[in-house]
């Protein structure tokens, strides 16, 4: 049995901290006591520390199921940087011999990251069956519920896969989950008895701001104004890669800031460079899409702007959670133009097959068709012996669920009442008025003054085009810098 003292010791030795953040110790105590645990901790609260530390104190294999390859790679890198060499991600980018190499030497690893699709492959699953998984982690566990049957259905197999792995101790971790989503996660993983550690999701240092515009051009102008005047660094979210690229160009041209787009189409070299520039404060603003995870912690993000309405509050809360991880005053700004919800609705419905499509694809005897996501999706259910009726029902329910989620999101945008209280209610958390921060939201302070919030940029600290000698130097200087030849 692992004692609390041992946990503190490991925290000190490994991470150099003497205190746990709220929720961490509770989750670790539940896990070391042998209880499957669902941990809902706000973004930036250190969910990864829980399973990292668990691996350290128990010396067992920790298997982490994670939704995004980029996120997995970032997490492996972050572990490597901390000196943990026994970490790897099994991804679809690897060749067969590479995967086999890892699967044959599972015992050599402490932390392995996989996607649900990878884990449901026979060869991968059977390799893990022959080894002892000390802890199974379902990271971003809300995906099980919010993605559901229309996107990455392998998530639904995780309950069964868990049994096939001999029911290892399981940690389900997420930053955002309503009571309903929490129940859904536990039900789908077949762990109804799991302990729940739920921390308040609120981030009182983030001012919640919604602004409405009549025309696109007004919105663009406001974005330019915000980016020019707000304290950096900041992140702007878009619904499409195309828009993210366009606006990165526009903002580069129209503001004195250095801006770059960041999304799944970037090649790894570019992605690394943008990420590191941002980390090292050489880049002011990133124009991102939500599909792209940012696994590397950056504490001093001062603003998160949403140019489009996200399709649900879970995503929204997750994304604005990147602001103000250092506890300093920050702001989340949603720029809304009536009609924007149609983009969100379209994007959120686009993946859900309609009744006639389901019927059509069910009649097809053919297996997977390259590039036809819906055909492949229905084929997945046929293969797993679902009847057409079951699938019809489940997708009908899914469409309703997506619509409800969007309505709730729009409720946040439109409510004239306190935005923060709306969020509390949505995530089934109650708190009194006295727990609100002094500066709360745009419903309460409609003419928000960023100066009062201390969020206005102090100009001329750094010139554009001169992030730390980057651009004005000759190649001789760059080589001197690279190879430390100044001394």
């Amino acid at each position: 049995m692992i004692t609390t003292e041992q946990l503190y010791q490991a925290l000190k030795q490994r991470f150099g901290f003497s205190q746990f953040r709220p929720g961490q110790l509770e989750a670790l105590t539940a896990l070391t006591g042998g209880h499957d645990t669902l941990a809902v901790l706000p973004t930036g609260a250190g969910k990864t520390l829980i399973y990292e530390l668990y691996g350290v104190v128990t010396q067992q294999l920790v298997l982490i199921v994670s939704p995004l390859i980029s996120l997995m790679q970032d997490q492996v890198t972050a572990l490597n940087v901390k000196g943990e060499k026994r970490a790897a991600a099994l991804t679809s980018l690897m060749t067969y011999p590479e995967k086999r190499e890892i699967l044959r030497h599972l015992a050599a690893y402490r932390y392995l990251f996989v996607s649900p699709e990878m884990l449901s492959q026979d060869q991968v699953l059977s390799a893990f069956q022959t080894t002892q998984v000390g802890l199974l982690v379902i990271d971003e566990a809300h995906c099980i519920s919010t993605w559901g049957p229309d996107f990455r259905p392998e998530y639904l197999l995780l309950g069964r896969i868990r049994h096939q792995l001999n029911d290892p101790l399981t940690l389900m971790a997420t930053a955002t989950a309503t009571k309903q989503v929490r129940n859904d996660i536990k039900q789908k993983l077949q762990l109804p008895q799991a302990s729940e550690i739920v921390q308040p999701v609120d981030r009182p240092n983030i001012f919640l701001n919604v602004e409405t515009f009549e025309a696109r051009v007004d919105k663009d102008d406001r974005l330019i104004e915000l980016v020019s005047s707000l304290k950096k660094p900041g992140v702007i979210y878009f619904s499409s890669k195309k828009k993210a690229n366009e606006m990165a160009e526009l903002l580069t041209a129209k503001t004195p800031c250095s801006v770059a787009a960041y999304h799944a189409d970037l090649d790894p070299e570019t992605r690394f460079k943008i990420q590191q520039q941002f980390m090292q404060d050489q880049l002011d603003v990133i124009c991102a899409t939500s599909a792209f995870g940012m696994g590397i912690d950056k504490n001093n993000v001062r603003f998160v702007v949403h140019y489009h309405v996200p399709s649900d509050l879970e995503s929204y809360w997750q994304e604005i959670g990147r602001a103000g991880r250092d506890g300093q005053q920050s702001v989340a700004i949603l720029l809304y133009q009536p009609g924007d919800e149609q983009i969100a609705q379209f994007l959120s419905e686009a993946t859900v097959p309609q009744e006639n499509e389901i019927h059509y694809y069910f009649q097809q005897a053919a297996p997977r068709v390259a590039g036809d996501d819906k055909a492949n999706l229905i084929w997945f259910y046929k293969q797993h012996h679902f009847s057409e009726e079951q699938v019809q029902q489940s997708f009908a329910a899914r469409r309703d669920q997506r619509l409800t989620a969007l309505r709730k999101m729009m409720g946040y945008v439109r409510t004239p009442a306190c935005k923060r209280q709306y969020i509390w209610q949505y995530f089934n958390q109650t708190a009194g008025d006295d727990e609100k921060p002094v500066h709360c939201c745009s419903s309460e302070e409609p003419a928000v003054d960023f100066a009062t919030l201390g969020l206005l940029d102090t100009p001329a600290k750094r010139q554009k085009g001169d992030p730390i000698n980057q651009r004005s130097a000759g190649w001789q200087f760059i080589l001197q810098q690279l190879f430390n030849l100044n001394g």
Partner: protein
């Protein structure tokens, strides 16, 4: 791929097949693609844009059409008089690669990944820093550099790398040296992206990509001539044959005098495949490395040439000679031979 890049693959004197241009860029090694790629002098671009989609290609074509630079006849593109003018301006104003043929014999993309990561590792080593985010590269490259560093890290890597880059940059035009040096990643230098460089040097991203690729080709040459083992070994295993391994095997049997039928039997290949192998070799290898005469008897060649004398090579039709005792593949071989023998400026 943007419209300007596509424009450069077109010809002011003859229509060009868009599918050939696309297949070359994607890297399809069919005989027909390779043959026309050779005729268009586009072979060095083989596999330059492996991810190129039909949509992207179509957008570039539509772009040129809407500007009035190009006319389409099905999927053949011809430059209009205005298009020819733009083409000439582009040829003068835009960077033209000079070393791309290196791409055919060296895996330059992997070399760049290795060199970039090695430079980062050495840079961090010069600051005695062990905790940093390494570049995200493929698993193979990561393993390679791990072993490489294990082998060389006691040597004067810092000095060797500094010398290597200094020598390389010194022999480049100043602007190109600056451009490439800004791509490099190291201690507290995240390096700049292609997009950022294009923006600062006031070129399009597609042109910046051509410049950088051409510089990487020059790097490959420089590395193979380099005396320092630590740097030279970065090329290990990256040489690639001009023709596929299987075609190479067919070619060797053929050069040893084995008949095509026998090769087909021995290697359990269709006769047509054996012929395709030989055509691939004939296209890709220097003329002297292929025995044309064994397939093309002099009398037959003389007869064909008599009939085809008045037709420019790219307009040759098999039906002009099909009553003679020859197969299409022999006809194609003659086309290849002719293409390689004459300095045809298409």
């Amino acid at each position: 791929m943007d419209a300007q890049q596509l424009m450069l693959f077109l010809s002011p004197t003859a229509p060009r097949r868009l599918r050939v241009i696309e297949n070359i860029l994607v890297g399809k090694r069919t005989v027909s693609t390779l043959y026309w790629g050779m005729r268009y002098q586009q072979l060095p671009w083989l596999g330059y844009e492996k991810q190129l989609s039909r949509d992207e290609m179509n957008r570039a074509v539509a772009d040129l059409q809407s500007r009035g630079d190009v006319k389409l006849d099905q999927t053949n593109a011809t430059l209009t008089p205005q298009g020819i003018q733009s083409w000439q301006n582009l040829m003068q104003g835009r960077y033209q690669p000079k070393y791309f043929s290196v791409r055919l014999v060296i895996d330059t993309a992997t070399l760049w990944q290795r060199l970039l990561l090695a430079t980062q590792v050495v840079s961090e080593q010069s600051y005695q820093n062990h905790q940093y985010y390494p570049l995200q590269v493929t698993w193979q490259v990561k393993q390679f550099i791990k072993h490489w560093f294990h082998r060389f890290h006691r040597q004067e890597l810092q000095a060797e790398f500094n010398t290597f880059w200094t020598v390389f940059f010194t022999q480049l035009p100043e602007q190109q040296a600056l451009l490439m040096s800004r791509m490099l990643v190291g201690h507290q230098r995240p390096g700049e992206t292609l997009g950022q460089i294009a923006h600062d040097f006031k070129v399009s991203e597609s042109e910046a990509k051509v410049i950088v690729t051409d510089l990487i080709c020059q790097l490959a040459k420089r590395i193979s001539d380099c005396e320092a083992d630590s740097i030279k070994s970065l090329l290990m295993g990256l040489n690639q044959p001009l023709v596929s391994a299987s075609a190479q095997q067919t070619l060797q049997s053929y050069l040893a005098g084995t008949t095509l039928e026998k090769i087909s039997q021995q290697r359990s290949l269709k006769l047509s495949t054996v012929r395709e192998h030989l055509l691939e070799a004939a296209i890709m290898l220097p003329k002297g490395q292929f025995d044309f005469q064994r397939v093309l008897q002099p009398e037959l060649v003389a007869e064909m040439e008599k009939r085809l004398a008045k037709t420019p090579l790219d307009a040759w039709q098999f039906k002009q000679v099909e009553d003679l005792p020859i197969d299409f593949w022999q006809f194609r071989l003659l086309e290849i031979l002719r293409s390689k023998s004459t300095d045809d400026n298409h």
